[in-house]
Subunit: 198 residues, 2 copies
DNA sequence: GTCTATATCAAGATAGAC
DNA sequence: GTCTATCTTGATATAGAC
């Protein structure tokens, strides 16, 4: 059983979700085990029955963020049957995972790498590479269809950077919702005027 | 005199530069005042003759990163006389400031916001906004010239996100140098095949 | 301006009762 | 499985000599 991603223990999952929010809001280093305990109604010492260390919680948060997003992207791609719709799925799934309600885990995955020990990194890199491989496939198909240029590896990194950065400025309570943002960013890529709502 | 950005004290500047590298490599929270002292050959206590707190060092690093980059962009733009060259200057200056030799300060500015106290943020926001205003002006001119689409505010955020993210994957020792990267990223935007070297 | 020495505090983690 | 209590460490910052 894949301990990184799947976890059928309710208490553990509850803790991981609470940790995701705290790590996102305060940063991993500034979040204390006492904060984590408070968030789920436990004393700080009790956390260590469920996790060996604070870092193990971080790794669990990150793994959850990236595997969930990957699963959602796979599901969305299987419903799309042309390159244009697949491109749209990339943007929508990624932004909803990053900016949607209670979706802190992916953001932690993106911005807390420095706190992950060398020992824990390879497992997370595998998960991240799997996600990015989906992106690469879709972009290559789009390039073959003439929708985007042929420099798809750089394009992948460029687009993912653009999307990742949205957490720094986008506020869901604003005038624009997440799906609308996805449409507008896709329109920038394709040089279309953004469509009304599809 | 603007204490945030300009500093005519040599010792202070030496410290800020060393701190920039450490904060980038280890992260602000994981860098200790002992690390900072070691880097410049001082005992940790001696730092507090030059700075009131560790956070004051962080703010100085960030202010240096963004003001230097702004100055370099202003200089580059004043040498460019058409929208296309001004666009190219945006990319080149930003990437060289972010990825060039001993250019850690801007990266710290981008990735350590969470460690800046509410009291210190407004001063930095002013500096950042000044930089982004330069970007906005250039993009608006480019849109007027038909080089890019008209959604320039979103485009600005999208492009800056792409550039900021390069620190996560670009390695200057690789086959591609920073100016070449800038050209290729500009080519993506303009949908050109990247030119050889200009 | 830099040193030595240390005050002060909070962090992650553990032990053993329940 | 969770609690209370605490161990141990390492952090920022200060005081006062030089």
């Amino acid at each position: 059983m894949n301990n990184l991603a799947h976890d059928h223990n309710n208490r553990r999952m509850e803790l991981v979700l609470a940790a995701a929010s705290l790590f996102r809001d305060l940063g991993y280093e500034r979040t204390t085990v006492r904060d984590l305990g408070n968030a789920v109604g436990l004393q700080s010492g009790s956390l260590f029955y469920h996790f060996r260390s604070k870092e193990e919680i971080l790794v669990a948060v990150m793994a959850l963020g990236i595997t969930r997003t990957t699963e959602q992207l796979e599901a969305a791609l299987s419903c799309a049957d042309n390159p244009r719709d697949k491109l749209a799925a990339l943007f929508r799934v990624h932004l909803n995972s990053l900016l949607g309600e209670n979706q802190a885990a992916l953001e932690v995955m993106l911005y807390e790498w420095r706190s992950v020990s060398a020992a824990a990194r390879p497992g997370l890199v595998v998960l991240r590479d799997r996600y990015e491989a989906l992106w690469q496939t879709v972009l290559d198909e789009a390039a073959a269809a003439g929708l985007v240029g042929s420099d798809t590896r750089l394009l992948r990194r460029t687009l993912l950077g653009s999307l990742h950065w949205t957490v720094q400025w986008f506020h869901p309570e604003g005038e624009m919702d997440v799906d609308r943002l996805a449409d507008r960013m896709l329109a920038l890529l394709l040089r279309e005027e953004p469509s009304s709502t599809c």
